[in-house]
Symmetry: none
Subunit: 217 residues, 2 copies
């Protein structure tokens, strides 16, 4: 499972992981994901049950099931419950990536193949892990890039420090550290300071938000 996560992340995807069916279900309902990948055999809730419940809850996004060699009826039951596709273990990473791309693309009705994210004059390429602003390349460290990517993927929404801690640092928020502030400062030095309009804004007492330049404050 861990290799799946790492494999997809290597493709520039943002992956969130739940350790059992119950938890996965809750997260899928509570947050927004482009795609859900689920094993059919999971503690606390099977993949089939998860699909059933997700569809019942009006979750409309694509769901990909991973099944073991022998679990044929689980596979069928899963598809009938509303899964979009399945993959039989063992599979290779390329196969998985291809299916993920296909499903996401289909559900979004566009080719998100080479999706360069653009916010004003800022360009972020999750695949290549490169950043440019005003045609000028910006060199970021790993963590800086992940932080920026998270902000970019939620433009216009104020992101709490708690959320950043969990999603980018994988830590349950701990007020004794101020890594986030420090990294935000690094990011601003590279992404905002050399340019005329700042994109990163502080929402005092709450968190941070990336805002396109045309929206006046």
């Amino acid at each position: 499972m861990d290799s799946v996560v790492r494999g997809l992340e290597a493709q520039g995807m943002q992956v969130d992981w739940a350790k059992n069916g119950q938890e996965g279900f809750e997260r899928a309902v509570a947050e927004h994901y482009d795609l859900v990948i689920s094993d059919v055999m999971m503690p606390r809730m099977t993949g089939v049950e998860m699909v059933t419940r997700l569809r019942k809850q009006q979750y409309a996004g694509p769901i990909l099931l991973l099944t073991g060699m022998g679990e044929v009826d689980q596979k069928i039951a899963g598809l009938e419950a509303g899964a979009d596709d399945y993959l039989t273990k063992p599979f290779d990473m390329g196969e998985l990536v291809a299916r993920v791309h296909a499903l996401v693309r289909r559900s979004q009705g566009v080719h998100s193949r080479h999706a360069v994210l653009r916010i004003g004059d800022l360009e972020v390429d999750p695949q290549a892990r490169t950043v440019r602003r005003n045609e000028q390349p910006i060199q970021l460290t790993q963590k800086e890039f992940e932080l920026l990517l998270y902000l970019v993927r939620h433009v216009g929404r104020v992101i709490s420090k708690k959320e950043i801690a969990e999603q980018v640092w994988d830590i349950h928020f701990d007020s004794s550290t101020n890594v986030i502030e420090v990294y935000m400062s690094y990011l601003r030095n590279k992404v905002d300071k050399p340019f005329s309009h700042p994109l990163i804004h502080t929402s005092f007492g709450v968190g941070y938000v990336l805002r396109p330049p045309d929206e006046a404050v």
Copy 2:
């Protein structure tokens, strides 16, 4: 119970709490809530009786029951009386949040994912904690935002200062402070002053009210 309140508040929800069944019933009838959560075992009125009476009073919103491990018949009775869902204690917070979201979403017939509240040309997004009027973003502090949100969630109704003190400041009204007047002034400076029609109105001797621009006074 207290942890339930705090957990939901941590999700950005606005939570009101009653210490017994009788009081809960009265509040649910008197005010508007998106969702009622009720324990089945409560002093002065059981959860099942509460559901029965609420439905009799035409209360149409969702009701979520919390039942103890052994209270199976209470559970069934509750659902038959018109509850929408139940959760058996002990449960984890994520599960509760997921159900709350699901119930509220279902009852509102939309994905409340991007539930933007609109009053005339004013837009308030509780998730993103952003405010815009006439397409123009408005920067508010935490307290200012909470105050505005409370007004927005009770459009057209005159809100007493006592109620604001309790709901927004969590203080039992204390006439020695005029924080509310001060913050109302801040809010007007940002939300009303730069625009042609004021939305915030003073009801002398009573409190304040947010009114859409077309409704004459």
